[in-house]
Amino acid sequence: MIMDFFNWSAYLAKNNPVAYGVTVMLTMAGLGVAIALAVDGIFRLFGIHLGYYKKEFEDELSRKS
C-alpha cells in the first residue's frame, strides 16, 4: 500500500508537478504532526517528564533587570 502511494507520487511528479508539490508538502506536514503527537503520547505513557527543567535564562534576566 505504501509502495502504491510512492508509485502514484512518481506518476504525479512526471505528469502533474503542481499536484506533486502539494502532495510532498502535505505528506511531510501530516507525517510530522502524526509523529510529534505519537511520540508525545509515548513519553506520557512511559512517564517521562518533559515540562520540568530549569530555565537558566530567567535567572539571568532577573539579574539583569
Partner: protein
C-alpha cells in the same frame, strides 16, 4: 536496496535513515535545518545530487514540526518574533536568489558563494569562540556558574535605543524590540541564505542571540518554528520542479523524527552557553569543509574548461558532463584514454580527493556530534531519574 520511484535510482534505505537521524539530533539541539550537512552526506552515499537539495528541503518541514512541537512544550517558541522573522526572511531569500542568478550568468556563482561561506562561517565561529571563552574567564573570576548570557552591547542598543514603531513584545524572552529591527535581521539572514542556497539557521540563531538579545534556547525553538514554514515552502517549490524523491524524504523523516526528540530533549539538560559552544564547533567544521572544497576548485578550474569543451564537442549536454565527472572511472576513460591528457587527470584526481575529504568532514562531524548529543541526553535523563528517586526516598524517610 530500495527502488526510488521518482529518480529511478536503487540505494540502501539505512543511509537515509542514518543521515535523517543525525541531522534530526543536531537540528533539534541547535534549531537549524542542517542542509549544509545533509547535501554532502547524501552525495557520499550515492544519492543523486539533483534530488539531494529538494529531498532535504521536503523532509525538513516534517522534521521541524516534530522538533518545534517538543520545543513548544518546553516553552521555547516565540510566535511573534517567528512570524515577524518570516516576512523578512522570504524577502531576503528572494533578493538572494536574484543575486545568485546574476552571479550564475557571470559564471562565478560557485567560487563567490564558497568565499562568502568561508568568511561567514570562520568569522561567526571565531566570534562565538571568543564570546564563550571570554565569558568563561569572567565567570571564573567572579565565581559564578556559566549558564546563559542574555544580551550583548549590540542587543542592548537594539532593544533600548532603536525605538522605531511598531514595537513587538516577546513575552517568553521578555524583550521589546522594533519590528523593523527584526525584519532587517531576517532580511539579512534571508539574503545570505538565498545567496548560499541553504536554510540559514546556522546564521539566524546567532543573530537572534547576539543582535536581538534572545535567550539561546528560545532562539533555537523560534528558529525551528520558522524552518517549518520555510521547509514547507521549499518542499512545495522543489516538488513542483520534480526535484524531490518523496520516498527518500519519508525515510529521512523517520530517522529525523527520532533524532529530533533526542536533540530537543538534550537542550533540557545543558545550559544555553554550552549550546553556543557546540554550535561554534559545528560552524567551524563546516567552514573547514567548505575551505577544502574551495582549494579543490583551484585544481578544478585547470581542467574543467578544456574537458567540458571536449565533451561538448563529442555531443554531451551540460548535465551529462556533470554526471560523468562525478564518476572517477568514466573521467579516467575520457581524460586519459580518449583525450590523452594525464596532466588534466592529475588535477581532476586531486579535486576529487579534496571533495571527498570535504564531504567526509561534514558526514563525520554530523555523526560525531549526534553521538555526543545522545550521550548528553541519556546522561541527563539518568541523572534526572536518579534525583527524582532520591527525592522520593527522602520523602519516605520523612513520613
Amino acid at each position: 536496496m530500495v527502488h526510488m520511484p521518482v529518480s529511478g535510482v536503487e540505494m540502501a534505505w539505512w543511509p537515509l535513515v542514518l543521515i535523517g537521524f543525525c541531522v534530526g539530533v543536531i537540528g533539534g539541539y541547535f534549531g537549524i535545518g542542517g542542509a549544509f550537512m545533509v547535501t554532502p552526506s547524501l552525495n557520499i552515499f550515492g544519492f543523486p545530487m539533483a534530488y539531494a537539495v529538494g529531498t532535504d528541503q521536503a523532509h525538513l518541514a516534517g522534521k521541524s514540526i516534530v522538533a518545534t512541537f517538543r520545543h513548544w512544550r518546553f516553552g521555547h517558541v516565540s510566535y511573534v518574533i517567528a512570524f515577524t522573522f518570516i516576512i523578512g526572511t522570504f524577502a531576503g531569500v528572494e533578493v538572494g536568489a536574484q543575486i545568485i542568478m546574476w552571479l550564475t550568468k557571470k559564471g562565478i556563482a560557485g567560487p563567490v558563494v564558497r568565499w562568502i561561506y568561508i568568511v561567514l562561517l570562520f568569522g561567526l565561529a571565531a566570534w562565538m569562540f571568543y564570546d564563550y571563552f571570554s565569558s568563561l574567564a569572567r565567570a571564573k573570576k567572579t565565581g559564578k556558574e556559566l549558564t546563559d548570557k542574555v544580551g550583548t552591547a549590540l542587543s542592548d542598543w537594539v532593544q533600548n535605543k532603536l525605538n522605531v514603531p511598531p514595537m513587538v513584545y516577546c513575552g517568553i524572552a521578555k524583550i521589546r524590540v522594533s519590528a523593523w529591527a527584526v525584519v532587517f535581521i531576517a532580511c539579512l539572514t534571508g539574503l545570505v541564505a538565498g545567496v548560499l542556497g541553504v536554510g540559514g539557521g546556522f546564521f539566524r540563531v546567532p543573530c537572534m542571540v547576539y543582535v536581538l538579545g534572545m535567550p539561546t534556547k528560545i532562539a533555537v525553538g523560534t528558529d525551528l518554528f520558522e524552518i517549518v514554514m520555510s521547509g514547507a515552502y521549499g518542499g512545495l517549490s522543489y516538488g513542483m520542479k520534480g526535484a524531490v524523491e518523496i520516498m527518500g524524504a519519508t525515510l529521512m523523516l523517520c530517522g529525523a523524527a527520532i533524532g529530533a526528540q533526542i536533540g530537543t530533549l538534550t537542550t533540557k539538560y545543558v545550559y544555553g552557553f554550552f549550546i553556543r559552544l557546540m554550535l561554534a564547533i559545528t560552524v567551524f567544521l563546516s567552514g573547514t569543509s567548505v575551505a577544502i572544497k574551495q582549494i579543490g576548485w583551484f585544481y578544478e578550474r585547470t581542467y574543467s574548461t578544456t574537458v567540458s569543451a571536449f565533451l561538448k564537442q563529442a555531443g554531451m549536454k551540460s548535465q551529462e558532463i556533470t554526471n560523468l565527472l562525478q564518476s572517477k572511472d568514466k573521467a579516467y576513460h575520457y581524460i586519459v584514454e580518449v583525450m590523452n591528457r594525464p596532466d588534466l587527470y592529475a588535477a581532476y584526481s586531486t579535486n576529487y580527493i579534496l571533495t571527498q575529504i570535504s564531504q567526509f568532514i561534514m558526514l563525520g562531524s554530523a555523526i560525531g556530534l549526534a553521538c555526543f548529543l545522545m550521550y548528553l541526553c541519556f546522561r541527563g535523563m539518568a541523572r534526572e531519574r536518579q534525583s527524582r528517586l532520591m527525592e522520593a526516598k527522602a520523602k519516605e524517610v520523612k513520613v
